[in-house]
């Protein structure tokens, strides 16, 4: 007899942190940030707050509708067609995102340590992990992330501390980067980094304190913003601006510099270990969320039916970009779209839902 697993908002927050932070390893995501030059860290913090501000009303409203998910909110708002459209857009975004990350990750493995290994081999290994993760579902993923998060944080903080000796604080100047106006104008694009946050809305139905979904969002966005900002600060201090923008794999580049006696130097391969693990968690959770959205919109009994086709789609998308440069560029170009789908669409649904609720109450 299978019973539903339920978990608290802190566990879901841990999953959110892991999934969002796994992106720090990928070139495209920090690539967005060089737009803010020496003030990249500030842009990240502001973007984190903005992401939460956009997510918060959605979290509150999703917790109120029966079913507690983005799709059920859409169905409540505009019936089945709206639900299907929402699933197509939001799930599609997540699949596209997974595809590109899959490509980047496998290219990264080949670039960083295994120059003679075919890239598809690295991709197949990752795909198997992602498939298993997505089939396992959000509950297992939450439990896994909850146990893995402390390790991930420890490793990241270790890398940052290990690299701190290389940095010079004065490289962080000027504090405003491109200047206050441009900084504020460029920040919204950075919010795209937080778009996998959508997966929290797929996990909400299993939350035993649903009204606290916002807490998971808060911890995930603000926690990750702080972590990203810390990485960014150390990165700018170590690789001063014009140089830093040429560094393709930021955390990896930092890990390469760590010196701690004979044993703790040249340890970036060890870091690779945690990166692969985090990426598997990230893609597994995101792909699962996408499958769950489709399944709910179409009315499948289980998300598992949708996993394989979606993974195949993501795998195909991963093969589309002809080179790593273009994979990154496609990802960066996606930023405004991601922002619109991940934050704008749910926000719009909430507004419409509230207005309709008021109208029907008034009537």
């Amino acid at each position: 007899m299978a019973r539903e697993i339920r978990y608290g908002s802190w566990s879901l927050a841990a999953a959110g942190l892991t999934v969002l932070f796994a992106q720090a390893f990928h070139p495209s995501m920090l690539g967005v940030l060089w737009a803010a030059e020496t003030a990249g860290w500030l842009a990240l913090l502001l973007a984190g707050l903005l992401a939460f501000a956009l997510f918060w009303p959605v979290a509150v409203q999703v917790a109120r509708v029966p079913g507690s998910s983005l799709i059920s909110l859409a169905r409540e708002t505009g019936g089945r067609p709206t639900a299907v459209a929402t699933a197509l857009l939001a799930g599609g975004l997540l699949v596209y995102h997974s595809g590109l990350v899959l490509r980047e990750a496998s290219e990264m493995a080949v670039t960083l340590v295994y120059p003679h290994t075919p890239q598809t081999f690295a991709m197949v290994a990752l795909v198997i992990c992602v498939l298993y993760g997505a089939l396992g579902g959000i509950d297992a993923m939450v439990l896994l992330c909850r146990s893995f998060l402390p390790v991930l944080l420890l490793v990241t903080v270790g890398i940052l501390f290990g690299t701190l000796g290389w940095g010079e604080i004065r490289y962080l100047l000027p504090l405003w980067g491109p200047g206050p106006g441009l900084l504020l104008a460029r920040t919204p694009l950075v919010v795209a980094i937080y778009s996998p946050l959508l997966f929290l809305l797929a996990g909400a139905s299993r939350l035993h304190d649903r009204q606290h979904l916002w807490r998971a969002g808060l911890v995930a966005t603000v926690g990750v913003a702080l972590l990203f900002a810390a990485v960014k600060v150390v990165l700018v201090m170590t690789f001063p601006y014009p140089l830093g923008s040429t560094i393709a794999f930021p955390l990896h580049a930092l890990a390469r510099l760590v010196i701690g006696g004979r044993f703790f130097e040249r340890i970036e391969s060890l870091w690779l270990f945690f990166w692969v693990y985090a990426t598997a968690c990230h893609l597994g959770a995101v792909l699962h969320a996408s499958a769950a959205m489709y399944a709910e919109a179409v009315g499948f009994p289980s998300h598992r039916t949708a996993v394989l086709p979606l993974l195949l789609t993501a795998g195909t998308i991963a093969l589309f970009p002809p080179d790593i440069g273009r994979a990154i560029a496609w990802h960066v170009k996606l930023a405004p779209v991601a922002l619109g789908i991940a934050f704008g669409l749910p926000f719009l649904l909430v507004v419409v839902h509230l207005i309709r609720g008021r109208v029907s109450n008034g009537g």
Binding site: I5, A122, F263, S269, G284
Partner: protein, 466 residues
């Protein structure tokens, strides 16, 4: 709470607080004095905790001889009649229950404001043969279910501890399902109960440990086993459900979780931070068993830069003439390790397994000296073997041992990347695994209960046990 006025209400109060008669070992029997005839008293004690022979001598016989001419049977008179410094009067019902849980017997009289408490001696116990150097002196379970229950009750004297009796007619035995009410998840209790009744209990009684812990095919056992009352008491206290069976000296613990697997039998006698640290040490040992040899393969085949340079140069010169590639020698050593361990189990004598292991180490040393394998492979393999010895929980060791071969193959094929993928698959498998509806990475009861389930967080402040 005062003693209820009538014997009927006493019976009800005992049923409410000790779950009598549905609680194995809780004995409530009528007693009749010689005079006045037809008057009934109630005797309450816990089997195993209070020695029945002593009860007969000190309570039943004096009471059956007792006669009261004027027909006014009061607790004070009975106390006088029992005539012993171990007899006292107790007016508080909760204190009576507490005393009974500590091994006393209580006599209730119709209309009496007090109960007569008789302190009875402690039961006989079976202990480990002599005190070993490291382990504290501890009791282990015997074959009598009632005595085993008493061993647990001695350590956890909580009225909420229920031992539900289940008869096993084919084996002519009894099984008890133990849990702390309010702490254990009712649904887990129901499922464990279902297992015992669905012939699981009989199987476990007939076929022993294998049927007791193994269930479906998979890496994880379905239940854990323990022969230590202290261990069982701690597990009950943290919300696990325990099954104890007649003539079986293992208790079975459900659900199987990571915390339960890492908990050792002796954690109960450690002070708090120490027991947490021990758990951390065991976790480190698990990690070592899993990734020890495979990291060596990954380092020596893919990530040479991580080996400190001056050491690497020495390493190269040692491996210069080694006949096997590193993956081959590590796999061979690990397989050899398994064989020696297996051989050790079949040797007679208490230290045979250890002796076989040591013999294996000596052989490895000779291989290293002869230049057949590198010193580093030898050292790591010996380290991993000792790490498996450090893990007390056999179910855990049996799970980890085959998995480390998967890790070695992963490392051989793809370095740390391969190890990370295999490790992700293993941990994903564990994260998905549920035992009695409780996820392996979760805690028993509570957070995973369906809405409306009991939450342990609201149950704080309850005191139990010495």
């Amino acid at each position: 709470m005062p003693i209820p006025p009538t014997l009927e209400s006493v019976r009800d109060a005992i049923a409410a607080s000790l779950h009598w008669p549905n609680n194995l070992g809780v004995e409530l029997q009528p007693v009749h004095p010689a005079e006045p005839q037809g008057v009934e008293m109630l005797l309450l004690y816990i089997q195993g905790l209070a020695d029945e022979e002593l009860i007969r001598l000190r309570v039943l016989e004096p009471v059956s001889r007792f006669s009261c001419q004027d027909g006014r049977l009061t607790p004070a008179r009975i106390r006088t009649a029992l005539h012993s410094p171990r007899v006292r009067l107790e007016g508080d019902f909760d204190a009576v229950i507490e005393g009974v849980l500590k091994g006393a017997a209580a006599l209730f009289v119709q209309g009496g404001a007090d109960a007569v408490m008789v302190e009875i001696g402690s039961p006989a116990t079976r202990t480990t043969g002599g005190v070993t150097s490291e382990q504290p002196h501890m009791d282990v379970f015997g074959t009598e279910l009632i005595d085993n229950l008493a061993l647990v009750r001695q350590r956890l004297s909580d009225p909420a501890l229920i031992a539900e009796p289940h008869s096993l007619p084919r084996q002519r035995g009894t099984a008890a399902v133990l849990f702390l009410e309010g702490r254990a998840d009712p649904e887990v209790v129901a499922q464990v109960r279902a297992w015992v009744e669905r012939r699981g209990g009989e199987e476990a009684m007939r076929r022993g440990l294998a049927a007791g812990i193994r269930g479906k095919v998979g890496l994880l056992p379905e239940r854990l086993s323990s022969k230590w009352p202290d261990h069982v008491a701690t597990m009950l206290d943290t919300g696990y459900v325990v099954v104890m069976i007649d003539r079986v000296y293992h208790a079975y613990i459900a659900p199987v979780t990571a915390t339960a697997m890492l908990a050792g039998a002796f954690d109960a006698v450690q002070i708090r931070p120490n027991s947490h640290l021990l758990r951390l040490v065991r976790f480190t040992l698990c990690v070592l068993v899993l990734i020890g040899s495979s990291s060596l393969v990954a380092l020596m085949n893919y990530h040479h830069e991580m080996i400190p340079a001056p050491f690497l140069m020495a390493l190269v010169s040692i491996r210069e003439s080694a006949p096997l590639p590193i993956l081959g020698s590590v796999l061979a050593l690990e397989a050899f390790q398994e064989m020696m361990r297996e051989a050790g189990f079949h040797l007679p004598g208490r230290f045979a397994a250890g002796a076989a292991l040591i013999a294996g180490k000596i052989l490895i040393l000779i291989l290293v000296q002869g230049g057949v394998i590198g010193a580093l492979e030898g050292a790591v393999s010996v380290g991993v073997a000792f790490a498996t010895l450090g893990l007390l929980n056999y179910e855990l060791v049996y799970m980890l041992r085959p998995l480390r071969f998967a890790m070695i193959l992963g490392a051989g094929a793809f370095g740390f990347f391969g190890m990370a993928t295999i490790l992700f698959l293993i941990s994903m498998y564990l994260a998905q695994s549920k035992s009695y509806g409780v996820p392996f990475f979760g805690e028993p009861g509570i957070h995973y209960a369906a809405p409306g389930g009991i939450s342990s967080r609201t149950q704080g402040g309850r005191t139990h046990g010495p």
